[in-house]
């Protein structure tokens, strides 16, 4: 994952110094930009650090190997639900809840109940019954 790590790390290398330059030029008296830039640097270093650590843990992937073959990339990539309607129900429940904020609390409560049902259905969809993973 060296390419991915570098991609995010270079952005950190840019935003880190930019934060210092910005702070210096604004005499450290303008807090919004400094906060936003520090946390933007944090965003990139967080992802870069994670990718670096994950890359260390995993064996070299075919895409990192200059002489890698497409066939080497076969294998298990994780579990993906074949087809599921529950995200749609959850989104619908979320929409009803937000509409409830504008219309009235009674509608929000109805939406919240629908949301609970949708969340439980989604979370347990692949983790219950005979075909649980």
């Amino acid at each position: 994952m060296r390419v991915e790590t570098k991609l995010f790390f270079y952005l950190f290398l840019f935003f880190g110094p930019v934060t210092v330059i910005y702070g210096y030029w604004s005499d450290w008296k303008e807090p919004i930009g400094v906060t936003a830039l520090i946390l933007t640097s944090g965003l990139f270093i967080l992802v870069a650090f994670y990718l670096w650590q994950t890359g260390k843990r995993l064996p070299v992937r075919p895409e990192d190997n200059m002489s890698g073959e497409i066939a080497e990339a076969e294998g298990n990539y994780g579990y993906f639900v074949a087809s599921s309607w529950t995200p749609l129900w959850l989104a619908g429940a979320g929409a009803v809840m937000f509409l409830g904020l504008a219309v009235g609390w009674w509608l929000f409560i109805i939406g919240a109940f629908l949301g609970v049902v949708a969340v439980v259905l989604w979370v347990f969809e692949s983790f219950s019954g005979d075909y649980s993973i």
Partner: protein
Amino acid sequence: MVAVGTIVWLSSELMFFAGLFAVYFQLRSVRTDLWAQQTEKLNVTFAAINATVLVISSVWCQLGVWKAEKGQKARTGSLLDIKNWGMREWYVVTYLFGSFFIAGQVFEYAEMVHDGVTLSSDAYGSVFYMATGFHGLHVTGGLIAFLLIIARTFTTRRYTHANATGAVVTSYYWHFVDVVWIALFATIYILK
């Protein structure tokens, strides 16, 4: 896949809180008089105890993660045999500590409102409740996630890798929310 997605989502969450921090610092820089007057109403000792509870809950969470990675979903010995606890027991303890934090925050809000600091009272009240409130909502979301993860250990026959991944990414989220609180606590209660 799930872990990578969670990390990417958490870095976008970081930017969400960045906005709240920016609002806080901006208002603080233009209304130093208001800050001097309102921050005196904060109960720093109480908030420090509450923050400590949240930080400790992260430790229990991590102990649960190590059990999940070993594939041990529940305790093998008796309830008092802490060494042989599984992921489920540690996550229940984490849940209890997290709900203690939320209860403490509700208590703190009641005190602040009693002192006349409300969401609509002034700029300080707005940013105080916005920042701590959004964090509190995140903690509440984490508590719901813990309940679902604990419930999952009952519905599957075997504790699979997919199950453990769910537990691990929930811990990522919990640690993130914890770190955000350390920053918020330093900003609101120590830096003032």
